[in-house]
Symmetry: C2
């Protein structure tokens, strides 16, 4: 079973695509072709989108699903004139909110992922630069860090730090546990004094070996023996130091980030 | 006017927060306190959330707004028993989709931002590593790049590349135009042969000077004169080479990414 799904927006279409993925994930057995149509800002663009939707419907012999986040009512009406099933994310919920708040919404076109405020944006950029400069033990000073992720090499620290910096403006540093740290069975002093903002990332040895193998095939570094040893020692070390640990093997970057922020009580607004 | 908004989910709550931000942006004049409650997986957690909602309502003397993306109907019913206005993102739309598709949804709890597939996940990680290794001219070989962003230093290339890698699994490299490139008024040969996958990022000189000033205060690099000169030359160069250019001054990373992918026809599914 094939269906085409359109994400249509006056902005980036990210909001619609995010919710769309959640909804579509509930229907297994359907093969969805996903098409993003962002920046639909006028009637011409809306009519072009309608033509594209109708062509897909003819090809699939089934009505496409349209996830619409256009704010403008006239443009949304054009989209609804297509031969499709339209889920209008704003229509319904805006009315409910208007009633709850007792004030009228001010149409703010495509603002969700727009640039709202230079200072907020700068926090985000600064956090990203911070993460890049404090990645993989490049800089070992963590005074200004909001948090420090520690773990063995390739346990998922770097992408998680970058994600948290980009989306929460959090200054996230990371430090790879070295063989020296593991042998001495304690955190180095420059880390130890930041204990309350450290979180450990842990990964299953099999998966770790698999990831390392794609980077350095056939190396001692990628051998299952070495991976088992490092993971075991890292687990002991973090337990001894009383550092909370999250497993990354079956988690996405988003899940790990969300759990880390919750654990440390960092209630940052998401970008 | 104060209102507390809760984003409640059995997963990361990212979907609800994303749509929530879009909706709340339409109501100016209200000061929203935002609280994320992720990973609500059982009745105990749901009841705790209800208690937290009710406390906020008492404090604010106004019913909190709850954006709920819990899939489980029993847990959602517990959330709805709170003294609040609940927007249930799944309830409504799942019914519409069920009718449109003619099949029953299979409850897939908190899967949107979960780890679905190791190979997809690996693409995302590989793309992130690629972006890190091909950032800021570190590696000058772009054969495997899906796209290359060029522009003057601090025009927004790095965060945009990281964002595209993390969210679209796109191998995004970037190259900072050097003074030599600008003097010679042409792209270096190793870039030239990848012309069709190059996009230019441009920024207003005033804004550029402001950003550079925070990095190297009082430097020639940050002077408005230098910034004006570089931007002017970069614009001429990219025009001469026929490279499409996007302005980053008033755009968010999400907007730039979305426009770049659309321009190059890269229809990647978003993570």
């Amino acid at each position: 079973m094939f269906r085409t799904v359109f994400f249509i927006s006056d902005g980036t279409a990210i909001t619609g695509e995010t919710l769309g993925h959640s909804l579509l994930a509930q229907f297994s057995g359907v093969e969805f072709t996903q098409v993003r149509i962002p920046f639909v800002g006028d009637a011409t663009a809306a009519l072009e989108a309608v033509a594209q939707i109708n062509r897909a419907g003819k090809r699939d012999r089934a009505r496409p699903i349209v996830i619409n986040t256009i704010v403008d009512k006239k443009l949304s009406a054009i989209i609804r004139s297509s031969e499709s099933v339209v889920l209008d994310l704003f229509g319904e919920f805006l009315d409910t909110l208007e009633n709850a708040l007792g004030i009228k919404p001010q149409p703010a076109v495509g603002q969700t992922h727009g640039l709202k405020d230079f200072s907020v944006y700068e926090d985000r950029m600064k956090a990203t630069n911070y993460a890049l400069n404090h990645d993989d033990g490049i800089k070992l000073s963590f005074d200004r860090a909001d948090l420090v992720l520690v773990g063995v090499s390739r346990s998922g620290k770097t992408p998680t730090c970058l994600y948290m910096a980009l989306h929460y403006g959090v200054k996230a540093a990371n430090y790879p546990l070295t063989e020296d740290d593991l042998d001495e069975m304690r955190l180095p002093p420059f880390l130890r004094r930041h204990k309350r903002k450290i979180i450990g990332l842990m990964i299953e040895p099999d998966r770790l070996a698999q990831i390392r193998e794609t980077r350095k095939p056939g190396s001692r570094y990628a051998s299952i023996k070495q991976c088992r040893k490092e993971v075991e020692l890292a687990e002991s070390l973090l337990r001894l130091e009383g550092i909370p640990v999250f497993q990354t093997t079956r988690s996405s970057i988003e899940e790990i980030s969300s759990r880390v922020l919750a654990e440390l009580g960092l209630q940052r607004e998401m970008f």
